[in-house]
């Protein structure tokens, strides 16, 4: 896939001597694809930067995109795709921006026909393909890290641990519990027990649509870990379907306290700790 020293010399020469023509055509093609979603000035800057990096790399003789000599070129490409990924361009748009150089080159080459031209064009084309694929990969990587960041933020948001009473904390779980989230919940809950010195925790699963073996295991492990630390867990809000699944899956909840609602669970804990609770009697008018 590498360009020989000869070929890169010729391509470098071509890109330098016809710099204006190539970059202009290149810019035009991209602008046509993006339909004004990137400002002209920004686009020109990007194309010129890429052009300069490419010429620099070609000036070092043999060119292989994966070699050390092309570090600068790779950095420019990566930068470009990062920017486009963040601005919401598609992967295709980002990669075809690089592929557009082929078309621009072809038009330039057509003006001076010679026997070597076709072979050169194929070689150049291979390099540009490599650049395009590299852009694509950088783009995907950027997107992946964006998604990972967002998932993490979501995880933070979706697992609040609240203090219900002196010595009682609760985690109201809402939404699907996967393994990663269950783990975060578990750690956060246990840490809160330590921080607040609360010997009771209520795990409320009213908002959890389904429980599979793995999730049930995570909840059970949390309860056991809490016990090891000297705290008791109560599970509340088990819906009828979930109760059926738990029994059907043969999961043993053993001696773990379960209550129908968060309120019941809190009342249960308060009774254990000796706090008096009573329904308020309707006040009689005298």
């Amino acid at each position: 896939m590498a360009l020989s020293a000869d070929e890169s010399g010729r391509l470098g020469e071509l890109l330098t001597s016809r710099a204006e023509q190539v970059t202009q055509r290149w810019t035009e093609i991209i602008a046509g694809q993006l339909r004004g979603r990137l400002s002209q000035a920004e686009l020109v800057r990007q194309v010129q930067e890429l052009h300069r990096a490419l010429v620099d790399a070609l000036g070092k003789g043999e060119v292989d995109l994966n070699a050390e000599e092309a570090t600068e070129l790779r950095a420019v490409l990566a930068d470009l795709s990062r920017g486009q990924a963040r601005q919401g361009f598609s992967a295709t748009e980002t990669a075809t921006g690089v592929f557009a150089l082929k078309e621009a080159l072809l038009q330039t080459l057509e003006t001076d026909q010679s026997a070597a031209t076709l072979r050169d064009y194929v070689a150049f084309s291979a390099l540009i393909d490599q650049m395009g694929l590299f852009t694509f990969e950088s783009f995907v990587r950027t997107r992946e890290s964006l998604i990972a960041d967002q998932a993490e933020q979501l995880l933070e948001l979706s697992t609040p641990v609240v203090k219900l009473w002196e010595g009682v904390v609760a985690v109201p779980l809402v939404g699907t519990l996967d393994s990663a989230r269950a783990q975060v919940v578990m750690e956060r809950l246990l840490q809160t027990l330590v921080d607040t010195g609360s010997p009771y925790a209520i795990i409320d699963i009213t908002g959890v649509p389904a429980v599979d073996t793995q999730v049930a295991q995570h909840i059970l492990k949390t309860v056991v870990a809490a016990r090891l630390m000297g705290a008791d867990c109560i599970i509340s809000g088990i819906r009828p379907q979930i109760a059926q699944t738990i029994v059907a899956l043969g999961i043993e909840f053993g001696d773990i306290a379960t209550k129908a609602s968060l309120a019941d669970a809190l009342r249960h804990v308060l009774r254990l700790t000796g706090v008096e609770t009573s329904r308020r009697q309707p006040r009689r008018e005298s």
Partner: protein, 138 residues
């Protein structure tokens, strides 16, 4: 070899493990503690493991053994201050620390022992059945 200090506070022996214990140190603590329980006649032992960043099966077994020994010597053991990460790891490891009572911190541990002693006194006064207090698990 380092030795873990044992403090006497009222009717309670307090062991605060501050070092990364070698197995030898753990075994020595087990022996020292049994001697101190007998020598002082204390009825409660609190082992504070707040500073321990791991508890492996050896230390886990030591804690179980201490609890069993002290129970034989009529003292209640409470392990306090286990870190969340340690607890999660122990669960994954499959170590359940059977027969060990736990509390979140030293203060709660002391409360637990106090409640226990109160119950015990109560039983000794009013219960003359032969099974009183024979419910200790291994």
């Amino acid at each position: 070899m380092e030795r873990v200090p044992i403090l006497k506070i009222g009717d309670i022996l307090l062991v605060s493990i501050q070092v990364d214990m070698s197995d030898e140190t753990a075994v020595a603590l087990q022996e020292d503690l049994a001697e101190r329980i007998v020598a002082t006649g204390c009825h409660g032992v609190i082992i504070d493991i707040t500073a321990l960043d791991i508890v492996d099966s050896f230390v886990g077994r030591m804690l179980s053994t201490i609890a069993s020994i002290s129970r034989v010597l009529d003292a209640e053991t409470v392990v306090v201050g286990m870190r969340p990460a340690v607890a999660i790891t122990l669960v994954e490891l499959g170590l359940s620390l059977n027969g060990i009572r736990t509390a979140l911190n030293v203060e709660r541990g002391m409360e637990l022992i106090a409640i226990d002693r109160a119950d015990d006194d109560h039983h000794e006064e009013w219960d003359d059945g032969p099974v009183a207090g024979a419910t200790a698990s291994p």
